[in-house]
């Protein structure tokens, strides 16, 4: 049998410490792998059924009206908090199991949910969206009217401002990537540009803020700048090709690409155009964070560039030394991801990962890098830079901006330590 070239023959020398290989390996290796597959011939027996798997010997399951994932993957579930005190059952969140997924689109049923008083059951035929305040004409829209407007379809991430909040604890939390960073999801959104509706109502030239209010039991309300409403904001009606789900705001939500999740008000029922913010509870006592001098940042609305390695990550055990593909997600609320650098030696040396096209603005971006693990302990890190030149901060630089234990807008570099026994743990570098 012909001996295949070794991986190191094909891949060349590592380009950064502890076995990181050049991202071009993905392009070079395609032909070699295809050749190896073609070389595998399959002998045909007289009775082909005898050699076939049982699934080929009988009809499969019936058709269904709405498909569900394989029962072999029943373990892939959102991370639901347990031991919740009475009164807080529906005011918390469930997290996306990022470490169990691939690609960049989060399945609707696994999209993270942050609710402030449960998911309302809204009759779409009775739901209305009011635009009023500093407008020429106050207007009411319903779903039947909105679906007749020109629509846009765009891919964007959604991230709770409280995502990764545990990462500012004195000791690094030992949890999966989903446990720690799972208030993050990616979707294709379809809806009506908010600017179209604001133009129809006629904005007063002095208008600067818009109060957005949801029809849930929290009456969630947030103030957002008019410039965002006139830029890329959308009244989203569809998510991943289907009607937006109740947990995400059915029948409609405000979508503010790149802004903290909470401002993307679900079950949107009212937009009041103003010349000042409303200073609601969730933009004063929440989603603000103290700096060391005791002053707090408010309206820190744009999510900063961030990335996290998902393979490998906490909870996974390496299968011994050899070849692995590092895989993770990067995103920025400011625009496109320009690059993701990966280090396997705790930040001493870095090399650029491959980004999976298309790289879209304010959207999850998958990065990958080939890696030859020697079996020795290493520390893996990823650091993203967005198209505006903003670079993901180190843990120390991020924490230095704020008072102790502030847990909103955490965006620092995530470091995973891989031990000689293959176990992965969370470390601060």
């Amino acid at each position: 049998m012909k001996k295949l070239p070794s991986l190191t023959d094909q891949l060349g020398e590592p380009v950064a410490g502890n076995g990181l290989l050049h991202r071009r390996f993905f392009l070079q290796s395609g032909a070699a792998i295809a050749g190896a597959a073609a070389a595998l011939g399959t002998a045909r027996a007289e009775s082909i059924g005898a050699a076939s798997p049982p699934t080929m010997l009988k009809p499969g399951a019936m058709f269904t009206g709405y498909g569900v994932p394989s029962h072999w993957r029943d373990n892939v579930q959102r991370i639901v908090a347990t031991n919740v005190p009475p009164g807080r059952e529906v005011t918390g969140s469930t997290r996306t199991p990022l470490h169990m997924l691939e690609g960049t689109i989060t399945p609707g049923g696994l999209h993270y949910v942050r609710n402030h008083n449960g998911t309302p059951d809204i009759d779409p035929s009775r739901h209305q969206l009011l635009i009023h305040g500093m407008v020429r004409q106050s207007l009411i829209f319903n779903l039947d009217s909105l679906i007749r407007y020109p629509m846009e379809t765009r891919v964007h991430f959604m991230e709770c401002a409280g995502n990764s909040g545990g990462m500012n604890a004195p000791m690094p939390p030992q949890g999966t990537a989903g446990d720690i960073h799972g208030l993050l999801s990616g979707s294709e959104w379809t809806g009506v540009k908010l600017s179209t509706l604001l133009d129809e109502a006629g904005l007063d030239s002095k208008a600067t803020w818009i109060l957005a209010e949801g029809a849930d039991g929290a009456g969630m309300s947030r103030s957002v700048p008019v410039w965002k409403g006139m830029d890329d904001a959308m009244i989203a009606l569809y998510q991943n090709g289907e009607a937006i789900r109740p947990e995400q705001g059915f029948p409609m939500r405000l979508l503010l690409p790149g802004f903290e999740g909470n401002t993307n008000v679900k079950w949107i029922r009212r937009l009041k155009v103003m010349d000042t913010p409303m200073y609601t509870r969730d933009e004063t006592s929440r989603y603000t964070e103290l700096m060391p001098d005791g002053k707090a940042r408010e309206f820190m609305l744009q999510m900063e560039p961030k990335s996290v390695i998902l393979k490998p990550s906490f909870g996974m055990t390496m299968q011994g030394p050899g070849y692995y593909q590092i895989s993770g997600l990067a995103w920025s609320g400011l625009g496109r991801v320009r690059k993701v650098d990966v280090s396997a030696d705790g930040g001493k040396t870095w090399t650029e990962a491959a980004l999976t096209a298309p790289v879209q603005s304010k959207a999850l971006t998958r990065f990958r890098l080939p890696w030859m693990w020697s079996g020795q302990p290493v520390t893996l890190m990823s650091r993203t830079t967005d198209e505006k030149g903003q670079v993901q901060k180190t843990h120390a630089d991020w924490a230095a901006q704020y008072a102790p234990r502030q847990n909103f807008h955490f965006s620092a570099i995530q470091s995973w330590a891989v031990a000689a026994d293959g176990k992965v743990s969370n470390v601060y570098v």
Binding site: I140, P150, A218, S285, A296, F299
Partner: protein
């Protein structure tokens, strides 16, 4: 030559056609809202108190409402429980190694407290409090740390005048956002 010009002209027409297609005015399907329709849903209260309803509440009235409807989660005297946030104390801690954020220590506007209680509390029965009860509960909570005197009566005139200890404690980050 004339053929080239004709082709060029056709190309221009295609481009112009695309531009026209993109500029088709969207339908105007919004229905005019009546003042009554707006009044029913315009429940937000800004710091200047515009939109505050008639009615009033005292600390004594608020104590009774609090004990009946709030204390189960927020604890005796607003001290907090695992079920509900701590509401009082922590004044002066925000620049310390152990900052404590409460209504008393952190919230910049009393109007926000009224707005939030009236729209979202109690969590199991939101929007069930009368306007008088909402004023009263605000009066009680703010009286615990003496932000308002124990004999205060809060209403549409007096509530916006309440000075919260951390009113000047915020830096507006919006001007630093990256605008399009």
């Amino acid at each position: 030559m004339s053929k080239t010009i004709a082709l060029f002209g056709a190309a221009l027409c295609v481009i112009a056609g695309a531009a026209v297609a993109a500029q088709v005015a969207p339908p105007k399907l919004g229905r005019a809202a009546t003042p009554d329709e707006i009044a029913k849903v315009d429940i937000s209260i800004p710091p200047d108190g515009k939109g505050l309803p008639a009615g009033s509440g005292t600390v004594a009235q608020g104590t009774a409402v609090y004990m009946q409807k709030c204390e189960v989660c927020h604890g005796a005297n607003g001290a907090g429980t695992p079920s509900g946030d701590r509401l009082v104390g922590g004044i002066g801690t925000l620049n310390s190694p152990n900052p404590i954020k409460t209504v008393s220590s952190y919230w910049p506007y009393a109007t926000t407290l009224f707005d939030y209680i009236r729209r979202a509390m109690p969590v199991t029965n939101p929007q069930s409090l009368s306007n008088d009860e909402a004023y009263a509960v605000v009066a009680y909570i703010l009286s615990i740390d003496n932000i308002v005197p124990k004999d205060v009566t809060l209403d549409a005139q007096s509530l916006p005048k309440v000075q919260m200890p951390n009113k000047a404690g915020f830096v507006n980050w919006e001007p630093r956002l990256l605008k399009p």
